[in-house]
């Protein structure tokens, strides 16, 4: 596992998975890629398929209808891979607490490695979160 984890920290490719979010977290994730924040200079690339991804960026509430799909997407990701929960919704349910379509939180469905709070977190916050995760992985490897 050691060498694979180490390789992961060099240039993590992320896949963005929305499980019933309000868009804002997703916009801020896309915003990280655009010229002002430009995550690509750090080697972080957003990819269109979980099969190419090292990390899942999960946003949203994990609605019942998304649950099965989210698990499928996670299974398609090569391991070792990390799961990053972005936004208050993905951490707990936030303002949606008590809704009848969300029996589970994101971390009950997927093994979340790091949580980035905020509604939505600012792009700076997302970048800081990912950087911390990389640090963590480096120590583990």
């Amino acid at each position: 596992m050691g060498i694979k984890l180490k390789a992961l920290t060099k240039s993590p490719w992320v896949y963005h998975l929305s499980t019933g979010s309000c868009n804002n977290c997703d916009i801020e994730i896309l915003d990280c890629l655009t010229p002002r924040y430009d995550l690509e200079r750090l080697g972080i690339v957003l990819v269109g398929s979980p099969r190419h991804a090292d990390a899942l960026l999960v946003t949203g509430n994990m609605t019942m209808k998304c649950m099965k799909r989210a698990k499928e997407v996670y299974d398609q990701m090569p391991k070792p891979g990390v799961v990053i929960a972005v936004g208050t919704c993905a951490l707990g349910h936030g303002v949606f607490e008590g809704s009848y379509v969300m029996p589970k939180t994101v971390d009950e469905v997927l093994p979340v490695d790091i949580y980035i709070p905020g509604c939505p977190p600012k792009p700076e916050g997302i970048i800081a979160g990912v950087a911390k995760l990389l640090e963590m992985l480096k120590q583990k490897a």
Binding site: S21, N23, D31, T34, G94, V95
Partner: protein, 394 residues
């Protein structure tokens, strides 16, 4: 015999999960089926468990891009219920926030449309300049998205006098940017070739499908809540609504770009006309009864209804968002287009949809089911653009 290409529910670029099933014959799309509900979060039911003030926060989180339109319709509904008229300064501030949101939303769409036809430069440029608007919102409201500005009977934060020169300067900065994009869309032969005559929604069809906002206006339907039923300060400022005739993807793009000019105009007028005063009536209670509220979101008319039994919570809350009718119109706009154009047509409505990461192609002839990767559609679209560029020699 037709094949089926399901798109969804996860898609690499758009946000909310939604599911489309394209029926194709060779390259031509013959039918489109739409399945919604991946993003159903039970908001209307949840609203019944929140106090009136909290409901505004809740509806703000229906859609991130429209995180002002829903609170706007919601406060309109509650003020209708209570017979409340918010102070004039609050009305101007609300209008400014609404229009800033419109600019940010239209820019966002323009960027994504650029990406869809394979012009990633357009995407990056547009989103770079979108930051001007995000900074403005950040400064005025304290958050880049989810502004939390609206409440029954007023707004939560004032616009400081010190900020006004800076807001004006930002608006001035925005104008050359809009000119740039207008030129880019109107004059580029490739974008023209890619979008002219594609995904036409005729005037008649637009009316039949009851589409709203920038999906209806390019088809010659002059519908805009800001003019038809002025709320906030829209009755006190001067602006035009943009109505075009063609109804194709090109017209939809042009309509949005021209609308941004109007938004800048509205914001500047609001800043000029705003007088010092109170911004909040500090409403404590709402009576029993019903209220309706409408607002023009960047995508069209948002409609909210609330029923009160005089308690602290709504007894019933109902929301109707514009994308719901607009997405249905894809059924006609997509038919007859090639698969490469379908992604563009679907995106032209600016739906809040987040579909594919997987596509499955079902061949009716030999019952073959083929799983494609999510970007295939975009890939197809990019290839089409390349081909057109070659033909045009650019």
């Amino acid at each position: 015999m037709s094949e089926i290409i399901p798109i969804g529910p996860y898609h690499p670029l758009q946000e909310e999960p939604e599911f489309f099933r394209l029926h194709v014959e060779g390259e031509k799309v013959v039918k489109l089926e739409i399945e919604l509900g991946y993003n159903h979060r039970g908001i209307e039911k949840l609203a019944e468990t929140k106090s009136w003030d909290q409901v505004v926060f809740l509806v703000e989180r229906i859609c991130g891009i429209c995180s002002t339109s829903h609170p706007a319709a919601s406060t309109n509904a509650m003020e209708d219920l209570g017979g409340i008229e918010a102070p004039e300064r609050a009305q101007y501030i609300r209008t400014i926030i609404c229009e800033l949101e419109r600019i940010h939303s239209h820019l966002l769409w323009l960027g994504l449309a650029g990406h869809f036809i394979g012009y990633n430069t357009v995407w990056m440029w547009v989103w770079k300049y979108r930051e001007i608007v995000c900074d403005l919102l950040d400064k005025i409201t304290g958050n880049r998205q989810s502004y939390a500005m609206f409440k029954v009977g007023g707004v939560r934060r004032d616009i400081l006098e010190d900020d006004i020169p800076w807001i004006r300067a930002s608006m001035d900065k925005l104008k050359p940017v809009l000119d740039l994009f207008k030129g880019a869309v109107m004059d580029d032969p490739v974008i023209r070739a890619r979008t002219r005559g594609v995904g036409i929604l005729t005037n008649e069809m637009a009316k039949q499908y009851c589409v709203v906002g920038p999906t209806a206006r390019p088809s010659g339907v002059a519908i805009d809540v800001r003019k038809d039923d002025p709320y906030f300060a829209y009755g006190m400022v001067d602006f035009d609504i943009v109505v075009l005739e063609e109804g194709d993807v090109f017209a939809k793009a042009v309509c949005r770009i021209l609308e941004m000019y109007e938004s800048v105009k509205i914001i500047e007028q609001c800043i000029d006309k705003m007088k010092p005063g109170i911004i909040d009536l500090k409403i404590k209670e709402l009576p029993a009864g019903e209220g309706i509220g409408r607002a023009e979101a960047p995508r069209g008319e948002v409609y909210h209804y609330c029923l009160s039994d005089g308690s602290n919570f709504p007894a019933r809350y109902k929301v109707r968002a514009p994308s719901y009718t607009n997405i249905a119109s894809n059924e006609v706009a997509c038919v007859g287009e090639t698969v490469a154009d379908a992604a563009l047509v679907l995106a032209a409505v600016d739906p809040c949809y987040c579909c594919t990461e997987r596509l499955v192609v079902v061949d009716h002839d030999n019952r073959r089911e083929q799983v494609l990767q999510g970007n295939t559609l975009i890939q197809l679209s990019h290839e089409r653009t390349k081909q057109i560029r070659k033909e045009l020699g650019v």
